[in-house]
Symmetry: C2
Subunit: 193 residues, 2 copies
DNA sequence: GTCTATAATATGATAGAC
DNA sequence: GTCTATCATATTATAGAC
């Protein structure tokens, strides 16, 4: 038996950490932060309770790591959608939203669920707000460029529409007409295409 | 000292029950079902833990009572909005939504928060779905009467818009322009008024 | 790097006194 | 009708063996 190299140990550690993050994301999203115990996470990840604490110093710390990672991924994957043509840019952003919603469904569900728990969200409110405001101000810029009246208000409405679509989709995945809803949105906001 | 009459005892009991319902609604809405302990509810209501169990047989039972009561109130207070003129009816429903959102803010917050926790919501999904579908099918009827294309889809979109507005309002009550948003909605859906 | 055992505390729920 | 005391269990987190 060859002894494991330092790299192999590190790779193990990374894999364990990712497993914890991955499984607790699913549990937090579906059962809520307080509805999920460390025990449940350990079982879902196929490891011991103790090992979780060698990666994260507390349950809160674990949640924070999940949120930070989620936003990082989201931002990385939506970079490069800007377009000098405002209509094209808006179309990209609508596509982005749908792509992210479907690709990172679980994180999205966790994120929105947390919004309804002021007690928990307080610590993360700033990072969430920052992400949200950045999106809305992009929408507003586009609407202004397109000559829309009340651009700021319309931008907030578009943000709200996205959120509402997500809620309804999560509540009843099978029946909510996600695809057709996108068509309606594109037709409403970009009638000339 | 006159001994208390049976009526006085019953009045006390009713008041206690209402206090429990009232305070636990606020706590469940703000901290989540699992984030709220019976201890916290007892403290908030200024009574003992034990007394809660003389009114509700379990924490789950308490949540169910809150939900049922909430929907009953909502339905009672939105009855009688129907109007033979579809445009007037739609205007009424938009007004209804806003009135209910503001008047029963806490219940609304609890209700939407629960939507993101499949584990909890499962037991109440039917009653929630029923309420929601009834509203959406009313919207659809109106849109058909107004000659709108894709009436069903447009109805679902309106429902989603309402939900999205609620989310955004809850997340940042001070800054979200609730009133101006209503104006935009009324203008968009009822441009002739 | 991972596990088992355990500490310290909090929780949902009940029994019995007043 | 209400409260206090208590039970049984579950929870977060840590210590120490392998």
């Amino acid at each position: 038996m060859t002894p494991r190299t330092r790299e192999q140990f590190q790779a193990m550690r990374v894999r364990t950490r990712e497993k914890i993050l991955d499984r607790s994301l699913v549990l937090f999203a579906n059962k809520g932060f307080h509805g999920t115990s460390i025990q449940m996470i350990a079982e879902a990840a196929g490891i011991s309770k103790g090992l979780i604490y060698s990666h994260f110093k507390s349950k809160d710390d674990l949640l924070e790591a999940i949120i930070r990672q989620g936003f990082e991924i989201m931002e990385r994957e939506t970079a490069g959608s800007a377009d000098p043509d405002p209509a094209a840019y808006l179309a990209n952003l609508i596509e982005d939203y749908y792509r992210m919603l479907l690709k990172h469904e679980t994180f999205w569900q966790l994120y929105m669920g947390l919004m309804f728990q002021p007690g928990i969200v307080l610590r993360y409110k700033e990072v969430m707000m920052e992400y949200y405001e950045r999106m809305v101000s992009e929408y507003a810029r586009i609407f202004r460029a397109l000559g829309v009246k009340n651009a700021n208000l319309e931008a907030r409405l578009l943000g709200a529409i996205f959120d509402g679509i997500a809620i309804n989709y999560f509540f009843d995945r099978e029946r909510f007409p996600l695809k057709r809803m996108k068509k309606i949105l594109l037709r409403r906001y970009l009638p000339d295409r």
